[in-house]
Symmetry: C2
Subunit: 468 residues, 2 copies
């Protein structure tokens, strides 16, 4: 049978049981993305990690790429093992995605030690009753509202969000001229029935996970919180992969932006529904993320973050209308982006420093935020010194030959007791690979067993039964 | 031949030579609109004016509606005369659109007595040179710009339009770190190469015609001006028709908005091209129109303008980003809407009062703005009293049985000399109907000939050869 790589083919992905028609030239990884078959890809398809390993089990098997020939043993190549980012279909085929390459949902905890804060929302609320318009008093709806508002709140240069203004006449009449006005600075951002509960949305935009919190603006209490995976993961698990892809392909940057906004919208909508809230009761939004997540979320170019001297577009606080990026909320609601510190120390770290009141702290403290990227700040004598280093790829198996994320089947704990190696897997199932905590555990166990030299490498002359 | 009104049919419009497939239930007027065959419609299709008269000259002729039976003589009905808004196709047919119903371009003059004003643009310009980023100075692009700008212009709470921020890194690098910054209040609204000429757009948004002026913001001179028809005319020539249609059909309000924005974009683009300007050199825009045009342009609901007590949504000045309504300009350019006075005295009248410095005028003056709607202000002892009345439909033939707009074939002047009636038509062609100036002339001529009574009606016992 002869193959024409310019033609499309059919791939059956196992065990998902999903079939997809390929596009000529597209990598298997991209075909899988289109078919929503999740294949792990720590480096985002650049061919430098080992996470997207697949097994051709039938049909036409593409010849191995030079890169894959260096990567796999000839025996494995012969049996149909490839990396999904390094080959394209040459005809109909069946592909088995092994357990450790299935980018399944990682175990996730969204915890926060709830501590009481005096809520100081940026929005103000004012209940207003207006007289009905008449021939004797035919003043425009907005102008009458402003007259009344100035009586209640004092004179300001009142403005109104245009979208809110469009709904003003109908809202006033439907509510019999008695409404609740939501104000940000001197702008009216929403008009609602009185007693409408006002909520805020706080988003911790991580490279791997996104934490979303719905907060009551009256009490300051968290109404609901949820953790979701950052769906940009299909473009690489580390920020460098995503920066590279976004800088080279503007349309993929747009797609990364859309993926995150859609995911937050979906999570916020279901949290609202569960608490009998409408998304237009969200009147204020705050987002913290590392600089790359910040730029992708606000649709700023990320090219500068990928090249020395790693210049961000902006580090200052940013403030813009949520509807400009289609985030569901009250029509005039704003998103406040926590300011970044530098290219690789982002707003998430700023948020942590604010959270521990670093600006008023007099003790010497080291504050760590361990994530896909780890940022560390040293607070000492009124100075804060920050640095960052990538940690996720190492901890999550991106560059470890048997590494994987912390999902079912991952070895999460290792110890050596006498002659035996003890392991514990997530879900207590058969082991598939090592997740981050096992890498740390293994290092510790081998060190304690005397098997590591001073450089952290396995000592050349070391012999132990568990290491045979 | 039997007809199924639920089926589509083909209409040939003569003399345009345009063919269109109908949609079941659609009026001939709506079919013509879709096919871009222009049929005059002073009342916007409500069946109360006489402007959309058509003649079925072949094919299946629909039976006359009750409304048309009251309107036409049975002889005319028998010969296939109908009003386009009062009937639908019942089968393939050929329709002749008579000359006076062809909504051809009216004669238009866009004149302005150019008087010298000291330009006081709302935008500021600042030329800035930045140092290149380096590992020793890796500050974010925007933050470095702000530092430099604060040195030049003093410290402010500088913000930047998000769309402008997105283009900032590329613009800085393309221009070797030397740029021109355009500022509105404390917001950076555009970043351009140095020496870029900055222009403003002034729009006089009339019900019938739109005047568009491109102004050099450095000198205050008008670079170019043009007059175009308001394309909303297909929804009626007077504001009442358009308000009614827009209030009842939100999708038609959206369409009216889009028609005006597209028309202004097209005119602005060709004026810019003719003067080697790009539309993103437009950094400030001011729009004046009557309250209905103002609301339709800004996508505000107009329902209140059509019902007593004729309440506008807003009369105060409004200010919003041009891109929110897709008007071509610099990314962060704003549109300033001249404030309205009341439901039927709009920003166009305010502009006229500003133009004559009404606020500092000490003489007693009557100021008139004659258009489709006429507004009159009396300036007396520091008080300005304004009123408005519709005038266009009368002047443009909307409710006159032989009336038409001032296009080729319209009688524009009438006088009585002895026993003979003298007429002058536009284009010196055969007369088709009367335009506004002829209505005024006829009234004057008959009055001078002693034929009008004190109520302006033709005297019952008056006999004159030219009136036989």
């Amino acid at each position: 049978m002869s193959h024409d790589p310019a033609k499309t083919a059919r791939i059956d992905f196992e065990p998902a049981g999903v079939e997809v028609q390929t596009i000529p030239g597209e990598s298997i990884l991209d075909s899988a993305r289109r078919a929503k078959v999740r294949i792990a890809s720590a480096c985002g398809g650049r061919g430098i990690c080992k996470s997207c390993i697949i097994h051709f089990t039938g049909g036409d098997i593409p010849p191995p790429s030079a890169n894959d020939r260096d990567f796999f043993s000839s025996s494995k190549l012969g049996r149909g093992w490839r990396r999904a980012c390094q080959c394209s279909a040459i005809g109909d085929s069946r592909i088995h995605v092994p357990a450790r390459a299935r980018a399944e949902s990682a175990r996730m905890q969204v915890d926060g030690s709830e501590f009481w804060v005096q809520p100081e929302p940026l929005v103000e609320i004012c209940t207003i009753e207006l007289t009905r318009p008449s021939l004797a008093y035919p003043k425009a709806d907005f102008d009458r509202l402003v007259d009344r508002l100035s009586m209640e709140k004092g004179s300001r240069e009142w403005t109104i969000d245009p979208e809110t203004l469009r709904s003003l006449p109908a809202t006033l009449r439907r509510n019999h001229w008695l409404v609740q006005v939501v104000i940000f600075e001197n702008e009216i951002i929403a008009i609602q029935p009185t007693q409408t509960r006002l909520v805020g949305l706080a988003v911790d935009l991580g490279t791997t996970n996104i934490g979303i919190f719905l907060v009551d603006l009256h009490s300051g209490n968290t109404i609901a919180s949820t953790g979701i995976e950052n769906p940009q993961g299909i473009y690489g698990s580390d920020v460098i992969s995503r920066i590279g892809t976004a800088a080279q392909h503007p349309e993929k940057a747009t797609e990364m932006h859309r993926l995150v906004v859609d995911a937050i919208n979906q999570a916020a909508t279901s949290m609202c529904e569960a608490h009998q809230l409408a998304t237009d009761q969200i009147v204020d939004i705050v987002v913290a993320g590392n600089t790359a997540m910040h730029h992708l979320f606000t649709r700023l170019p990320v090219r500068g973050l990928g090249l020395a001297p790693f210049t961000p577009v902006i580090t200052r606080a940013m403030d813009f209308k949520a509807r400009e990026i289609c985030l569901k909320s009250a029509p005039g609601a704003r998103i406040h982006m926590i300011p970044n510190i530098a290219g690789f120390v982002g707003g998430d770290h700023t948020a942590m420093l604010i959270g521990i009141s670093a600006h008023t702290e007099s003790r010497t403290i080291v504050a760590l935020d361990i994530g896909t990227n780890t940022e560390i700040s040293l607070l000492h004598q009124g100075t804060i010194t920050s640095l960052s280093c990538p940690s996720g790829p190492a901890l999550e198996g991106g560059h470890i030959s048997c590494g994987m994320r912390a999902s079912t089947g991952a070895i999460e704990a290792i110890s050596i007791a006498g002659d035996s190696l003890r392991i514990k897997t997530i879900g207590d199932t058969d082991p598939i690979g090592l997740c981050g905590s096992a890498v740390v555990d293994a290092t510790a166990a081998f060190f304690l067993a005397g098997g590591l030299n001073h450089r952290g490498k396995i000592a050349r002359d070391y012999r132990h039964t568990v290491l045979q």
